[in-house]
């Protein structure tokens, strides 16, 4: 294992020196993007709305201890924003990257209601960045400690970021290879007409064939774009497609900064030599810029290299395995969502639900109909009503709440209806099951009612 690794990482293979400019530019734009995203989040009042106002938060399995910090949550966002700035500037990079990774991840873990695939992507990239010499160029650290400045870094450093991007795209593409997406053009068939009032292209969305075209194009794009970006000949066209594609999605769907994150991240695919050339040119104008002009190499210490590379191999093995974990359950993935998250299933399903809870006093038999808005925000309610782990967590919260109110044996029953990809809504959970007694595990939840339909494909 060690020998093979050393061999693969030699200067002939993954260790081949490439210009550090790519990694440095990526660091800078990615950091600025996160800084902007943090400011935007604050400016929209979302910190208060999503992390301070709610009375209850949905935790991730195993991360129940991660909670919003009340008014201190603002400080958490300040830390996140400041570390993003330091990260972008390349100042105290190592500390900044660790703090940024931790604060960003903490924010994401506070309430899974707000799970977004691109936040997860950011978390993963930040994790990788901690270990990479991304401050070797174009960083204030270079002014502080000039011997940190290196013109070349091993290929696998930039390569791992490219691989991460490629993983996202390919798995997002694979997830689209199902009968709903390709044969029924769902959910785009519902989503596109909703934009038919857009100027010029709007009327197009009234036609079913357009939904088919977008579905097939989208799947083909996701599956292939990383390879076209890797290929020198196709790269310019591919990057233009990236920009057009993501601008289109930004126009059509409320997906926030995600399209821009992908657009700037895809820059990492450009030839490191070209990026270096650009930096050299800028340097001729802005002489003070900490751009490395000499020929020197960043080298990992052997132990360090072994640790980081092993870590990355494990990391990517996990990444490649995660999207397939749904195969462990026989039930329809889109219906149960067991194994749906962390798998690059992006904008894939139109799903809406409605959940009415009743708490029954096990001693007196008295029934109380729960008004979800007393416990959850509209957004939390919306997410809860379509995802079983949310339903269960909420049911347990209701059980604990009514127990505190003096009810001795609260039983929690739910009537949940879910409609998916244009199908008629159907009952989602067994209404006779006392959810207070069910536990959340990684196994299939037997109280989820059958989907009674088939979606073929991955």
């Amino acid at each position: 294992m060690n020998k093979t690794l050393t061999n693969i990482l030699s200067t002939q293979h993954f260790g081949k020196p490439v210009y550090s400019a790519s990694l440095a530019v990526f660091r800078m734009v990615f950091g600025l993007m996160l800084l902007f995203s943090t400011i935007r989040f604050w400016a929209k009042g979302w910190i208060e709305e999503l992390y301070i106002n709610p009375k209850f938060f949905f935790s991730y399995y195993g991360f129940e201890w991660v909670k919003p910090l009340g008014d201190y949550t603002y400080i958490l966002f300040i830390i996140c924003g400041l570390s993003a700035l330091l990260f972008a500037l390349g100042l105290f990079y190592r500390i900044a990257s660790v703090v940024l990774f931790l604060s960003f991840t903490y924010i994401e873990l506070m309430d899974k209601t707000n799970y977004l695939n691109h936040y997860y992507f950011v978390t993963l990239v930040l994790f990788l960045m901690i270990w990479l010499p991304a401050n070797a160029n174009l960083s204030l650290d270079n002014l502080r400690k000039p011997n940190l400045s290196k013109r070349f870094v091993p290929l696998w450093t930039v390569g791992s970021i490219r691989l991460m991007m490629g993983t996202v795209y390919v798995f997002a593409g694979l997830a689209k290879l199902n009968s709903d997406w390709l044969v029924e053009a769902m959910p785009l068939r519902l989503w596109l007409p909703a934009n038919n009032d857009m100027p010029v292209i709007g009327p197009l969305f009234n036609h079913t064939w357009v939904a088919y075209f977008f579905s097939w194009f989208g799947a083909a794009y996701d599956l292939t774009i990383a390879f076209f970006l890797l290929n020198k000949k196709t790269r310019p066209y591919a990057y233009a497609t990236v920009v057009i594609f993501h601008l289109m999605t930004a126009l059509l769907f409320p997906i926030g900064v995600f399209p821009y994150v992908m657009m700037v991240s895809a820059l990492v695919f450009f030839d490191t030599k070209d990026v270096d050339k650009v930096l050299q040119k800028i340097k001729t104008v802005f002489r003070a810029l900490p751009v490395n002009t000499v020929y020197n190499h960043y080298t990992f210490a052997p132990v360090q290299q072994r640790v980081v590379s092993t870590l990355f191999v494990v990391f990517f093995v996990i990444q490649f395995a995660m999207p397939w974990r749904y195969l462990l359950n026989k039930e329809e993935l889109f219906w149960t969502e067991e194994g749906f998250r962390f798998s690059w299933r992006v904008m894939l399903v139109e799903k809406m639900g409605y959940a009415q809870f009743v708490v029954k006093d096990g001693v007196t038999g008295e029934r109380i109909a729960v008004n979800n808005n007393e416990f959850l925000t509209r957004n939390q309610e919306r997410m809860m009503a379509i995802q079983p782990d949310f339903i269960l967590q909420y049911a347990h919260h209701l059980r604990d709440y009514y127990q505190q109110q003096g009810m001795e044996q609260p039983q929690v029953y739910a009537t949940v209806y879910v409609a998916m990809n244009g199908r008629r809504s159907r009952l989602y959970a067994d209404t006779t099951v006392d959810l207070a007694k069910q536990t959340d595990t990684w196994k299939h939840k037997n109280w989820i009612l059958a989907f009674n339909d088939n979606i073929y494909g991955l």
Binding site: W191, P203, L204, I255, V346, E350
Partner: protein, 367 residues
């Protein structure tokens, strides 16, 4: 590989050309029923504006007759006021579901129809002679329910020989005037809001369709299903409470109000004009154009009408007053409630999902 991109680019160009040519051909109905503007126009022009006009007229008549009763309280003037109240209350059932736009901004419903009326609050206001009907705290001491108590649940003596008769008459007129004032304000606002409403054709949270559909569904679920049937019959709590019924002091009217309300819900969904003489583009036709179907191939658009009509006949088939049925025929009312309930997921989940709008007021990113 270049070819592949070329193909994609050509397809893009072809599609753009088609879209532009579609736009030029305004004569042919190229929108296949999916354009939202005609729907919003139909709602604004043919239902909402006439509805508020009618409501204002009804409330003017009510105010005049209440004033006549206050000026000269006898059985005749009282009877006239009761009749006007009855007629206006029935009309309100056609307007209540329009709580979006100006009505939402003004919280119109809280001035019109929060029940049950809190009698102690009404009596307190009368005896003290000082109250502010504008405040939120007065919502259960005014509107139709307060008038119901004052006109139908109070003996005539209270307006003639009672020491507080003057105060009572004053309060009665004040309540009627407040209702007229509020509806008039909403009607006037619609004059200018109408264009905003029609031109807001998007589907985001602030769009007309989203606000209208959200408040329509909310009305159906909370104020129709819950308020008129569910709470009084104790569908959730298991305990029937007749005193929660609408028009509690005029029990022969309660069922008619519920029937009128559900009829309005059906008519509004199906795009009927306010006077019922014509039909236009509507949520039903829009849903039909999107074309979602159930497992048997029935259009969801039709299924919703079907289920609503079943709920309607459920109420119509209850003999006698609703209060009587709640007390002596509770199972039948609970069955009717179940029929009404079956429509809720169809509206709240199926329709809203097909419209690509959402039942959330939190404007957050999705993915």
């Amino acid at each position: 590989m270049k070819k592949w991109y070329l193909t994609a680019a050509i397809l893009m160009m072809v599609s753009t050309t088609i879209s532009i040519s579609c736009k030029k051909n305004k004569n042919s109905p190229s929108d296949n029923g999916m354009d939202r503007k005609p729907m919003l126009e139909n709602y604004a022009n043919n239902y909402i504006v006439p509805a508020y006009a009618d409501m204002v007229q009804q409330l003017s008549i009510l105010k005049t007759s209440v004033e006549a009763f206050a000026a000269n309280p006898d059985a005749t003037t009282q009877g006239a006021a009761q009749t006007a109240w009855r007629s206006a209350y029935i009309t309100w059932q056609k307007v209540d579901l329009l709580e979006f736009g100006p009505a939402f901004d003004k919280s119109l419903r809280t001035y019109m129809n929060i029940y049950p009326v809190t009698v102690s609050k009404v009596e307190g206001n009368i005896s003290s002679g000082s109250y502010d009907l504008e405040t939120f705290g007065s919502k259960d001491a005014q509107g139709f329910p307060a008038l119901d108590y004052l006109l139908n649940g109070t003996v005539l003596d209270k307006y003639t020989t009672d020491p507080q008769a003057a105060n009572r008459k004053q309060y009665l007129v004040a309540v009627a005037s407040k209702m007229l004032q509020k509806v008039t304000e909403v009607r006037d606002e619609w004059d200018s809001y109408k264009n905003t409403f029609i031109s807001s054709t998007a589907t985001d949270a602030g769009s007309s369709l989203s606000q209208m559909a959200n408040n329509y569904v909310l009305y159906y679920e909370r104020y129709f299903r819950g308020g008129k049937i569910g709470l009084p019959v104790g569908a959730m709590s298991g305990v029937a409470k007749v005193d929660l019924t609408e028009a509690y002091y005029t029990q022969d009217l309660t069922k008619e109000l519920a029937i009128t309300a559900l009829n309005s819900v059906i008519n509004f969904y199906s795009g009927k004009s306010y006077d019922g003489t014509s039909t236009g583009e509507c949520m039903k036709s829009y849903l039909a154009a999107i074309g979602t179907k159930d497992d048997n191939g029935t259009l969801m658009a039709d299924l919703i009408t079907q289920e609503m009509n079943e709920a309607l006949s459920g109420i119509q088939n209850l003999n006698g007053t609703l209060q009587d049925n709640i007390q002596n025929n509770r199972t039948a009312v609970l069955n009717t409630y179940e029929q009404i309930q079956e429509v809720v997921p169809l509206l709240k989940v199926d329709m809203v999902s097909a419209f690509s709008i959402s039942i959330t007021y939190t404007d957050n990113d999705g993915d």
